[in-house]
Subunit: 210 residues, 2 copies
Amino acid sequence: MPLEIPEVVIDRLPTYYRLLTNLQARGVAVVSSQELGEALNVTPAQIRKDLSYFGRFGKQGRGYSVQRLTDELRTILGLDQRWRMVLIGVGRLGTAIASYRGFEPQGFDIVGVYDVNPEAVGTELGGELVVRNVADLARDLADDPVDIGIVAVPAGEAQAVVDVLVAAGIGAILSYAPTAAQVPAGVEVRQIDPVLSLQGMTYHLRRRDA
Amino acid sequence: MPLEIPEVVIDRLPTYYRLLTNLQARGVAVVSSQELGEALNVTPAQIRKDLSYFGRFGKQGRGYSVQRLTDELRTILGLDQRWRMVLIGVGRLGTAIASYRGFEPQGFDIVGVYDVNPEAVGTELGGELVVRNVADLARDLADDPVDIGIVAVPAGEAQAVVDVLVAAGIGAILSYAPTAAQVPAGVEVRQIDPVLSLQGMTYHLRRRDA
DNA sequence: GGCGGCTTGCGAAAGTGTGCACAATCATAC
DNA sequence: GTATGATTGTGCACACTTTCGCAAGCCGCC
Ligand SMILES: NC(=O)c1ccc[n+]([C@@H]2O[C@H](COP(=O)([O-])OP(=O)(O)OC[C@H]3O[C@@H](n4cnc5c(N)ncnc54)[C@H](O)[C@@H]3O)[C@@H](O)[C@H]2O)c1
Ligand SMILES: NC(=O)c1ccc[n+]([C@@H]2O[C@H](COP(=O)([O-])OP(=O)(O)OC[C@H]3O[C@@H](n4cnc5c(N)ncnc54)[C@H](O)[C@@H]3O)[C@@H](O)[C@H]2O)c1
């Protein structure tokens, strides 16, 4: 990794990685930047340029070994280890997240779930997870740190939860709450908000029909 | 709207809009680009530049009228009308989406929900929505078009559902399925995928601790 | 009614990101 | 062994995006 990699490049790598694992599962051995680009709706040049930040993984005249490139991206993205996560807020959305089977195969484990509601605390979720009291979150994290926090509490509670996570030294937060979280530099935050996505699309819808 | 507006600008407007509605609810009358920027973690210059694509909404020495700017952004983003949506796939995630109270206040109405599972079809969801059979989706849309489709089916089924929506002339799709949907030009697609967000963050986590 | 302090809007500069075009290289076929 | 056809990696030019810097304009105070 010689120089600084643009953030946009990092954000594209996971989509490359996911397509490659699909190809691998389908038994495809070699793939060209052309083919990758068609499947992902990006230009072949962009894919080659993105990958060239990290090394020379292809072969002229052939393309990329799916196996090789998958392995390289796994290492680059840090997916060759398991990541421990806590989930805060076990309401409707939190329940869906906790039962989602898409995290574990990708190396992400939810190792603790928390809520403030006394009726929720103590209940069992899915298999082995018991909802804990959010009042214990700080202590639990001090005893047993995790890598990532998932925030699924109402908007008004989100910053308080984020503050606890940050104070515990967490490195990354995935927030579903519809507010911009304030965190110190060095803490990664991504927000998932379907309303923002919808509002970005209505701008275009309006113009298209007009 | 004189010239072409960069897509990155459009994607920031909803976050401005949301903050402004919060400020309005809290009774704030005037706000400066400085204050907006601090709350949203962007530079004041960027906010001013973004807004200047659409008009001159501020007053020198004062800032922006929260009321005025909210109204302007509402019009720009097309949020001064209601948008009709259908939801396809009423599993764990789809159920959470259908019961989410965050869409309706922003002008987005789920007017139909569909599934393929015979046990789900016919059941009532939340208040007045009855799960319909996805086999009827094309006909229903032909009779009564909607603006936006929300896809919450398994990855392998997503493209087929997208194809039906596109054939029905839908303008925008919000997909939760972990695959890149293929659509013709002119159809807006946004994907929501927590795993991609997580994988983007682990790249940075790996580098920080190293 | 003029002065001082603020903040916008915007042109221009600086900084980033993308796509083109092509030399270099590889696999294969004959 | 060489010709053929394909595809990578990358320098470069262009395009896009962000930030700077400041004149113009607004408010309130004295
Ligand atoms: N449901 C969706 O599809 C959806 C979609 C997008 C975003 N969101 C957002 O996700 C968040 C949760 O949505 P939801 O529909 O699950 O709401 P919900 O009300 O069903 O669940 C929220 C849960 O958080 C718990 N909680 C509240 N304060 C807490 C605290 N301080 N610490 C720990 N737990 C706390 C509550 O007890 C409740 O169980 C909201 O911010 C919402 O805007 C939801
Ligand atoms: N649960 C989550 O938190 C979560 C998070 C991110 C993404 N996702 C994605 O969202 C999608 C749904 O996830 P889920 O956890 O709700 O899965 P799920 O299995 O609980 O639900 C899927 C639903 O889709 C229905 N379905 C299947 N094929 C269909 C078709 N052709 N037409 C209509 N309905 C069909 C099924 O009957 C089922 O009810 C998946 O693609 C998943 O990867 C889920």
